[in-house]
Every structure is written in structure tokens, then in C-alpha cells.
């Protein structure tokens, strides 16, 4: 039984692809799945840093592709989650240091020894993006409720759809109070504009900055606010039907309470 090969992509940079990849991967591992995370962002390696594994890198993706080492030598096992490992990107190489064939072969090899292979895609829609998407069989598009992020998400959705791969959406960094006052696009708005199936909604939370500073996945802490959110996303990914938390409008009386509180 080979793994599901899922690329996490966004088009625009800085919307939270790497954070999402790290936390979703850790959540799946915590749920007992064998997970391999591949950092496809050659030259701008960060997945290792977000997960606090930067000091343990020996080999990287490009060295595996060039046959300088075996995949198992380059994989870094996360000691906190037994079934989680990452394949770091090369830091001093260019995106075209690896071909689609080479990348796909590595993903296939990783898939033989895992339940999930999550690929952290670089920003943009050039070589790095084409490799990352080409190696995957399904995609998670990460966006924030901002016009620029959504427009770029729409571009990558179009490109992935052209390859006939299923796509699901994570709306990241939602600020429910701004949605309620009409100052931020709602999840409903984003889904309507992009016409993609929703996989999850992650509210904006300082917890992300704090855990990233420490290099700890959010789900490491059982009482974390966002841990429960990522758990829901992981369960949906596994095919479970999990109701969505409503972060959007809450009707007249809800707004009345809010207005009174604020007033």
C-alpha cells in the first residue's frame, strides 16, 4: 500500500504553506500515520527550521536526486513523533537543480515507506512549483482571506486542475472578528470565489509564531487551541466527515452582543 502524495501550494509566498505542512504532518504522525515531509523549496529551505530539525541535516533532496546518498540517509526522523520524518531541501542550489523525473522518483520512493507524503511547494508557478505538483497526486491549496493570496491561489488551482488532480482548500489566518464586522472576506466568500472544496479553516493565532520560534509543532502541546483545528483537518483528510467550526457571520443577536461588548 503506497502513500497518498499531497502537495501543499499557494502561488503566493508567506501565506503559511510551510507551517501548514509541518503541523498537518505532525498531526497525522500523532494519529499514528507514517508521514514523510518533503521540502521542495530548493534554495529557500525552511521546513527543517519550522520543525526544529535544522541542526540534524546531513544530506538533502538534491543530493538524493544526484545519487550522492540514499533516501533513507537523507531522511531526518523527528524524535518527538516516531513516524514523522522530513527530507530537507538543498539550501545552496537553484530550483532547476532537480528535474521533474528525479523529483517524482524520490516522491515514489518515499511513498513506498509511508502513509502520507506531504510536499511543501515553493512559492511561484515556475520550475519548483511544476516539480512539486508533478510529483503529487493530489493538492491542498493554502490561502489567506486577502485579495492577492486568493488571486494567486486561483492561478495555481487552474494549473493543478489542468493536470486533473483533486484539490482541497485550507483558509489560513482567518480573523473571525474582522469577518463579523465585514472587514475581511469570509470562508464562504473565499470558497465561492475559488470554487474549491474546503478542507479546513485555521484562525490567526499568536500560538503559531510562538511555536515556530521554538521549532515545535503545535500539536506537541495537547491543550493547544490550534492543535484541535489541525486534528480536524487531518481527520477530514482521512475521509472522516467533521463539521466545520463557524467563524463567519452569526446573525443579528450575535452581532448585537458583539456590538455591546465592543461599545
Amino acid at each position: 500500500m503506497t502513500a497518498r502524495k499531497i502537495v501543499l501550494t499557494s502561488g503566493k509566498g508567506g501565506v503559511g504553506k510551510t507551517t501548514t505542512t509541518a503541523n498537518l504532518g505532525a498531526t497525522l504522525a500523532k494519529r499514528g500515520k507514517r508521514v514523510i515531509l518533503i521540502d521542495a523549496d530548493i534554495g529557500l529551505r525552511n521546513l527543517d527550521l519550522v520543525l526544529g530539525l535544522e541542526k540534524r541535516i546531513v544530506f538533502d533532496l538534491v543530493e538524493v536526486a544526484e545519487g550522492r546518498c540514499q533516501l533513507r540517509q537523507a531522511l531526518i526522523k523527528d524524535k518527538r513523533f516516531e513516524s514523522l520524518s522530513i527530507l530537507p531541501a538543498a539550501q545552496t542550489r537553484e530550483k532547476d537543480a532537480i528535474s521533474l523525473q528525479q523529483f517524482s522518483a524520490i516522491v515514489e520512493l518515499a511513498a513506498e515507506q509511508a502513509d502520507y507524503v506531504l510536499i511543501d511547494c515553493p512559492a511561484g508557478i515556475e520550475t519548483g512549483f511544476r516539480n512539486a505538483v508533478g510529483g503529487a497526486s493530489e493538492a491542498i491549496v493554502v490561502t489567506t482571506p486577502e485579495v492577492s493570496a486568493i488571486r494567486d491561489a486561483d492561478r495555481v488551482v487552474g494549473k493543478i486542475a489542468d493536470e486533473g488532480k483533486p484539490i482541497r482548500l485550507i483558509v489560513n489566518r482567518l480573523r473571525p472578528e474582522m469577518v463579523r464586522t465585514g472587514d475581511m472576506l469570509s470562508v464562504e466568500d473565499v470558497c465561492e470565489v475559488l470554487a474549491v472544496e474546503l478542507l479546513g479553516v485555521v484562525p490567526d493565532d499568536e500560538e503559531v509564531i510562538d511555536t515556530t520560534n521554538r521549532g515545535e509543532p503545535i500539536v506537541l502541546n495537547d491543550s493547544s487551541r490550534l492543535g484541535a483545528i489541525y486534528d480536524k483537518i487531518a481527520r477530514r483528510l482521512e475521509g472522516e466527515i467533521v463539521p466545520f467550526t463557524n467563524f463567519d457571520g452569526q446573525g443579528f443577536f450575535g452581532r448585537l452582543i458583539d456590538a455591546l461588548k465592543a461599545g
Binding site: D183, M184, L185, V193, G249, R255
Partner: protein
Amino acid sequence: MIDFLKRLFGPSGSSTTAKERLRLVLMTDHLELSPELIEAMKRDLVDVISRHVEVDRDKIEVNFERQDSALAMLANIPILSVGRPNGNPTLVPIETVQSPIVANGSAPRVRKRRKRAAKKTAPTSAAPASAAAQ
């Protein structure tokens, strides 16, 4: 107080503007219609209509909407007054003119109804201010 009312009566912030702008920009991205082309279409459309009625050029809105698999171009063109600019240089205020458009109501109402009617119309049937494109 205004803030309080704003919160009470729900979304009135910039999210509506964001959604509308996104809708239009994505539509042009998908169609690969350049903003210049849209402007040219708008100009030509207005030129034709202006032969018959006086329109408010500053308040013209052009939108694109997906209807099933087809795409509709919806133009919202406020009519200032009805007259024949060529034959009658002095434009007559709308209230005093008897014409089919005026008979249907005042200019703003015509505009509203037209927009709604255009939305309901199938892209293939001809509505006065909507043109089907695909």
C-alpha cells in the same frame, strides 16, 4: 454610535469591495481579457447607447458573471435623460419625456431592474444592456 450601528447591522466593511474586485479580476484572468479590452468594449457600448439616450459615463459598471457554463457580460448604464442628442441638442429632463423607458419608471429604477433582469436572463437571450460572451 455609528460604529455601534455598523456592528449591529452587519457587514458593511471592505470585504464586499474585496469580493467584487476579486470576482472581476479572476474573470479577466480566466478569460485573458485585458483591462484595455474591457474598457474598449465599455466605450463602444456606451457610444451606441448614447446615440439614443444620455448616459452617465462616470457611473457605468461592467461585470462578468458565470451562468452555468457560459459567461455573461453585465453592463449597468445609468440613463440621465432620454432624448436624441443629434436631433435635439437640449437634453430634456427625464420626468418630462414620455418614452417607453420613462414609462417604466424613473432612471434609477430602470437601472436597478435592468441589472436584476440581466442576471436572470440566460446568456443567449438578448437583454438591452447585457451581452453574452463565451
